[in-house]
Symmetry: C2
Subunit: 431 residues, 2 copies
């Protein structure tokens, strides 16, 4: 495809008007401010008038099957929310439910410009099946809950992970990646974490983990582990010997910043979920200042309640200013980089998340003709503050158009909706 005379969010996340971008064989093959010499080799010409092209969004922390729990539990204290509403419902979810709920999640993500996501849930094989059918990318991890003092290998998850790796690692031209997972400090034991970290290092995989989401989790960890914060505790167990995506990090302090930066970990910020569950405001500007790779996640649909990353990056840009009482923090370009390139890096996808020749063609086109985009100005600012996820009119993954003008090319959304609706009714009757 050749996007002609379009406004581009370029590799520096600055806005450039009148650009031509061509894709061939799933990669970006041309970026320039004049038309390429041989336009025919790119195939379809996409007219760029009133359109903005940018990298696709990377959702760095999600629980995709939780679309099934969207709006199921509102305005509750965290413990009530989790133990009386979320966990009992989840206990009734089957592998098939996870498949359909992930499929619905894929439809929603594609509609709002997300091309890839890092997920932690259960039934990874079935979740991955939905992602592969949708043609998206994911780093899928099956959640380790390890309350007893046993090594990782003694949990059934170890065998499951081996099977996932063998079957799925790098599938679909690398779109599918399997990560390992540690649910959190308070739901696992030190031996399980140490042995999982070792296994992850040997297998060359990344790890996703919840870290310091709530104040009580953070403080209780320190009580349990001789003053070690969750970051320090995990570091002491060797977890940061592999690339880690640490979700939340709302309450990290002191040395935590250095560990995350020095060990090249990613923090997946979840500003919407953190506000909805009243977990706190993460010190994102300080993380950025310290050089930590900050990416952006939606978290699950029970605490957001959608998968529109444009909403999350809008809230991110706002709340960093509000919480720190400093309106100069988080420029539009920074917010866009966090939601795209930094997410790709958190997934180990070096060749993704930037519009640059040679990179994977994971692209989003926004319709900038609506009143919110006028008068025209800095398209990066408009994309963050004025525009909407609903302005997405095209989502391309590895050069393939998966969503365009209200239509999904790979997902039967009506079918997914019907299955998810039926699953919810079945579970509600069974609770």
């Amino acid at each position: 495809m050749l996007f002609s005379d379009i406004t581009l969010i370029d590799e520096n996340f600055a806005s450039q008007e009148h650009q031509w971008i061509g894709t061939i064989d799933g990669r970006i093959a041309y970026v320039g401010d004049t038309a390429p010499e041989d336009p025919a080799r790119f195939g379809e010409v996409y007219p760029g008038h009133d359109r903005v092209l940018m990298p696709g969004l990377y959702n760095a922390h999600s629980h995709a099957p939780m679309t099934l729990l969207r709006g199921y539990a509102e305005n509750l204290p965290l413990q009530t929310w989790l133990f009386e509403r979320i966990f009992p419902f989840e206990a009734k979810m089957t592998a098939e439910d996870c498949y359909w709920a992930t499929k619905l999640a894929c439809a929603e993500m594609l509609r709002y410009g997300t091309v890839s996501f890092s997920d932690m849930y259960y039934h990874s094989r079935d979740c991955v099946r939905a992602v592969r059918e949708a043609g998206m990318k994911c780093n899928m991890s099956d959640t380790l809950i390890a309350p007893q003092e046993k090594s990782y290998d003694e949990y059934p998850l170890a065998a499951a992970n081996r099977a996932y790796l063998e079957e799925l690692q790098g599938a679909d031209d690398g779109r599918i990646l399997i990560d390992f997972n540690v649910h959190a400090e308070y739901t696992t034991n030190p031996l399980s974490v140490r042995t999982l970290a070792k296994a992850a290092k040997e297998a060359g995989v990344r790890v996703q983990v919840h870290v310091s989401e709530t104040h009580s989790e953070h403080e209780e960890c320190k009580e349990r582990h001789g003053g070690l914060t969750p970051v320090q505790y995990f570091d002491s167990l060797g977890l940061f010997d592999v690339p880690v995506t640490a979700a939340h990090c709302v309450w990290i302090e002191g040395e935590d910043f250095d560990i995350l930066a020095d060990r090249s970990a990613t923090v997946a910020a979840n500003p919407v979920s953190n506000m909805k569950l009243a977990s706190g405001f993460a010190p994102i500007p300080r993380m950025l200042e310290r050089g930590i790779n900050v990416a952006l996640g939606t978290d699950g649909c029970a605490s957001n309640n959608n998968l529109d990353m444009f909403q999350d990056l809008y809230v991110l840009a706002l709340v960093c200013k509000g919480a720190a009482s400093d309106p100069t923090l988080i420029s539009p370009s920074q917010a866009l980089r966090i939601a795209t390139r930094n997410g790709a890096l958190s997934q180990g996808r070096e060749d993704c998340g930037l519009v640059r020749e040679g990179m994977r063609a994971d692209l989003v086109v926004l319709d900038a003709s609506g009143p919110s985009w006028h008068p025209t100005g800095d398209a990066a600012s408009h994309a963050v503050y004025a525009g909407h996820g609903a302005d997405v009119v095209l989502t391309m993954v590895d050069g393939r158009v998966l969503y365009r003008d209200g239509n999904w090319t790979t997902v039967d959304v009506e079918e997914a909706k019907a299955h998810v609706e039926a699953a919810k009714q079945r579970i509600l009757q069974d609770l």
Copy 2:
């Protein structure tokens, strides 16, 4: 029009499925859970499948012509933003600029379900002209800046306000209302405020005012006026003898809550603008607890940067939880009431803002067929947390459809965009 078998956000802001709502002569003439006996009298039947009907949104604090400044000044400290960017630009804006920028604002508001707004800017006659042509409602106020110790009558605004009242008050079947205005404590003098309050009382009009938006404004007022906060200062000048909409109120304290509640003032909360400019988090839950009428505003497009009230009510519901560390605050129904009925009351429109027989037919229809709305559940929760302003497919004001399925019936959006674009270019060249 007869909305048939539709999901309704009812007068208690609860979700009711399978409802019929009929409008006749600009009013809601039927609400029921069965079809009316004589459906033909309502005219067109609107199929309610996969649709949610709710009251139109009331934007309680805006500066509509500031669409012209959308994205013009980002990430700046407040004083730099205001004095080096906003004020010099505004000084170049003509009455005609305000007309076209308001027209663009009307298009944007209608597209996202807003039916009425309370505005403070300049060139009210020209702004109102745009609103009347759009068929919307507004409470328009021309800003009083009164730095010198003179009475209201000595300022040219007094004569202008008299003319506005004579020409425009109650125009278009009451859709157009003229309010008086006090910009803020720090931009006016006590005599001007006292005499304006008296004139407002005599004329029977409402007053719009900025109150305690920033910490420095609040503290400096106390220093200047013997410890009186802006609310207490204005109260001492008789301003609350008329119905007041006090925008922001981020830093109100102590007795301020009692004054606002007891004098039946409205607080127009602007959570997005307050975060973007890092002004602070308004104590909205405490206002509600004290019985203050809290409404919701976008503020101007230089500090938001759009007029999509659904985004603001989403942020409102989130940030109240986050700032108070309490996830139980602000239910979806509360958020919806704040953005609709409470706004209508702030404008003195008792017969607006609720879907109830006899009320004005100011209605919004949302398309609930998208993935974000599934599985189905509490439509109030979905409207606040999962849905988007872009899901609006119909906006009706006084029974007249002004926006539907991508088309505006009263505003030529391309014409408005072109004029606003030209105005911006002219002003930028002139700066």
